[in-house]
Point group: C2
Chain length 208, copies 2
């Protein structure tokens, strides 16, 4: 199935080196949804300007412009919106809930550790930050849960990729940037390779 | 519309004084879904036992037993599952994405501050914890975003309650436990009162 098209390309406000933003690019590229990328620099405070806060009062990227007056924030809600009615979003009630389970896992138990460790090392260029031991401990706990789920499974829910895989791919494929050793995780490493084999899936650009 | 019934009451593993768990109770009570509540004490380490980790490798509550072999974790994924096909989950694609937007907002920008502040004060009984100033700052930022969204709106998405309201009600109605002054937020306070007026909606039990 193809997603509903409004005729006008969506505008995506995002920072290309942010995993949360990269998720939106991946979903559009996989589903061949036309979009215009509007690059936003978080470090320059662009998301805290009155103009940006009028579009997203929570001041975060990514942000999807749905129409002239409607902006949708939250990367994983954007994934659900873009994938609605497509092969990336299961039709079965339980499978859909399981996809959501992994989307919430990603935002609560994975991103706050694995993405933040990367942010501290790559963007803040701090290598002795006092938060790192806890971030590594909690991030490895998330990778342990993923490794267990991928035992005997090719993707997180069902036999084919869903938006759960897109969401978890985003920060897992660059977890080494934050100091995580992915070599410890054969199931996760195999799954990352399978994700990268999908048409439309690209690694996130490196920080300039 | 009524939810799909499997004939056997769902078993819910949860701690009654946890807002994430209270969400599940509220959804079941509002939708008149039969359930058996299995009380779990997080502080006693029950969620870290091999038996519990076999049901939920991420070791968290709540957990919904869907059938003999299927367990669904993540409070907001459970809400989506229970509400699928009911009046609490919109049929419109954009409205559904907006409900999800607020569910992800709740887990990323609200719960880690407002629930954690309450946990430190009520459960750990620490009143001078060094994390409190940051938790209060970030929690108030979440309340600011909610106050703005509720300007001229009765509920978070559309004209009637959805699972977005249930999810945000859970830790907002007891935010004072963590030191937040809800009196500063007339829109949020009015919305909380409207939520409590709904059949099936009850406040969370106080910590014994």
């Amino acid at each position: 199935m193809m997603p509903v098209s409004t005729g006008v390309p969506h505008r995506v406000y995002g920072q290309s080196t942010s995993g949360n933003c990269h998720k939106v690019r991946l979903a559009c590229d996989i589903l061949k949804i036309p979009y215009r990328w509007h690059e936003v620099d978080i470090m320059e405070g662009t998301t805290r300007t009155p103009q940006y806060l009028a579009m997203n009062p929570n001041g975060k990227v990514p942000l999807l412009q749905v129409d002239d007056r409607t902006y949708l924030p939250e990367s994983n809600a954007i994934l659900c919106y873009l994938a609605d009615g497509t092969h990336l979003w299961p039709g079965d009630r339980l499978a859909r809930a399981q996809v959501l389970q992994w989307l919430f896992f990603e935002q609560y138990s994975h991103e706050p550790y694995i993405a933040v460790a990367r942010f501290i090392k790559v963007f803040m260029k701090k290598h002795d930050d006092e938060r790192m031991p806890n971030l590594l401990k909690r991030g490895y706990a998330a990778l342990d849960v993923m490794e267990k789920q991928l035992e005997g499974r090719r993707y997180f829910v069902g036999a084919t990729p869903t938006i759960a895989d897109i969401a978890l791919f985003a920060y897992t494929h660059c977890a080494a940037d934050g100091g995580f050793e992915l070599g410890r995780y054969p199931n996760v490493s195999g799954w990352l390779a399978r994700c990268l084999d999908q048409p439309g899936v690209t690694p996130m650009p490196a920080q300039p």
